[in-house]
């Protein structure tokens, strides 16, 4: 025997013929014995029959003509859109725009770097040299105390002629100094500065 709750759960399966044989027997037993469930069952049955009996509607005479017109309109719209895309490059995917933008940005970056590189092409004085200049009170000339880039090339000895006229009062013993591009760290002990009076 099944409970009223179980009966309620099986109503549709029974009405649709989807219930198994064993369950069907239990369902019918309950249907016979329970008046409340019987009323519910009949009520559901009437509801379904009411749905089945609902009148069918049919498309109007203009339906096909309207549909055809809408399809023609839509087709024209698609063709126009495709044409305008061809003219305005609207069909180009956004990824292509992104890539183009990235290429432009990288190019601009390199151009700017190259221009800046020309302006600041001169070699800076090594930090220990600058510190010694500050210590000796020659700070005024520190700003302009840079090697002439034409002279201070890697692998070429630097001497007193390497200084610009502004800081000619300085003389650095750099007879054995060879600038190496890879190694810009200088040993303070082995690179003494001499001040000329």
């Amino acid at each position: 025997m099944i409970s009223c709750y179980q009966f309620k759960e099986l109503i549709s399966e029974y009405l649709d013929g989807e219930i198994s044989y064993s369950r069907r027997k239990l369902f019918e037993e309950h249907l016979e014995s329970c008046a409340n469930c019987r009323r519910l069952f009949n009520s559901v049955k009437i509801s379904i029959q009411s749905l089945h009996r609902l009148p069918r509607v049919h498309v109007s005479e203009n339906f096909y003509l309207n549909l055809r017109n809408r399809i023609v309109e839509e087709r024209d719209r698609i063709v126009k859109r495709a044409r305008s895309r061809r003219l305005t490059f609207a069909g180009v995917p956004s990824l292509a725009y992104g890539l183009l933008l990235a290429v432009v940005a990288v190019s601009v970056f390199f151009v700017v770097m190259k221009i800046q590189g020309k302006k600041t092409g001169g070699y800076e004085l090594p930090p220990y040299v600058k510190q010694q200049i500050i210590g000796s009170g020659s700070e005024k000339s520190l700003k302009n105390a840079s090697f002439d880039r034409r002279v201070a090339q890697p692998g070429r000895p630097v001497n007193e002629n390497s200084f610009t006229p502004d800081n000619r009062f300085l003389q650095i013993d750099t007879s054995d100094l060879y600038l190496k591009e890879a190694d810009k760290s200088f040993d303070r002990e082995t690179r003494p500065i001499k001040h000329i009076k």
Binding site: S12, L40, S43, L51, H52, V57, H58, S60
Partner: protein
């Protein structure tokens, strides 16, 4: 490949859509002839307005026309087209409900009395009224939650199988069975309420 000697009306829906995908517009016309009334009845029971239902069906065919290549023969054509109509009908109904809510919100405090119906004696009344007229059934249908309404229209008006409904709604067969049962129980309750409200 579709056999050329078959006349269109003998072809299956899947064969017709394949022909349409290959550029045969006549195949599309045959599909429209087959599905126009079926889809109209489905949409009509959803929105209960013939003009609105026709618009939904036209939109459906328009989408099929434009997106013909989106159909793949992994599902039945009927499943695909019903899914499109169901989505459009739901959208249309939601828009209308929104408009209705906006309209009701402008009513005075005593103007919505007709919407209140007391709930007593769920099915006794229905048992006496062996024939329930269309208006009552439609009103009861409209009072159902959207997922109950959809499944009842598909099952009891469109008479689709559990399997087809499962594919259209993208839910397991077990859920289809239980939802149909709950929807029917709820419908008989709503019919009783509507009948009681009328008397």
């Amino acid at each position: 490949m579709v056999k050329a000697d078959k006349t269109r009306y003998k072809l299956t829906d899947e064969e017709l859509i394949a022909m349409f995908q290959d550029g045969d517009e006549g195949a599309f016309e045959e599909l429209v002839n087959r599905y126009a009334d079926r889809l109209l009845n489905f949409a009509y029971r959803f929105v209960f307005d013939k003009q609105e239902a026709e618009d939904i069906v036209q939109d459906t065919f328009l989408r099929v026309y434009i997106n013909r290549h989106a159909y793949r023969e992994i599902a039945k054509f009927s499943t695909w087209i019903y899914t499109i109509t169901a989505n459009l009908a739901k959208t249309s109904l939601r828009k209308r409900k929104y408009r209705k809510v906006m309209h009701l919100s402008h009513m005075g405090p005593n103007e919505d009395k007709d919407f209140e119906i007391k709930d007593e004696g769920e099915f006794n009344l229905l048992e006496k009224d062996l024939r329930v007229d269309e208006d009552v059934v439609q009103r009861a249908l409209d009072r159902l939650p959207e997922h109950f309404k959809t499944i009842l229209i598909l099952r009891d008006i469109q008479e689709l199988s559990y399997e087809e409904i499962s594919k259209i709604l993208d839910i397991p067969i077990g859920t289809v069975k239980s939802r149909i049962n709950r929807a029917r129980l709820r419908l008989q309750k709503e019919i009783s309420k509507v009948l009681k409200g009328k008397k």
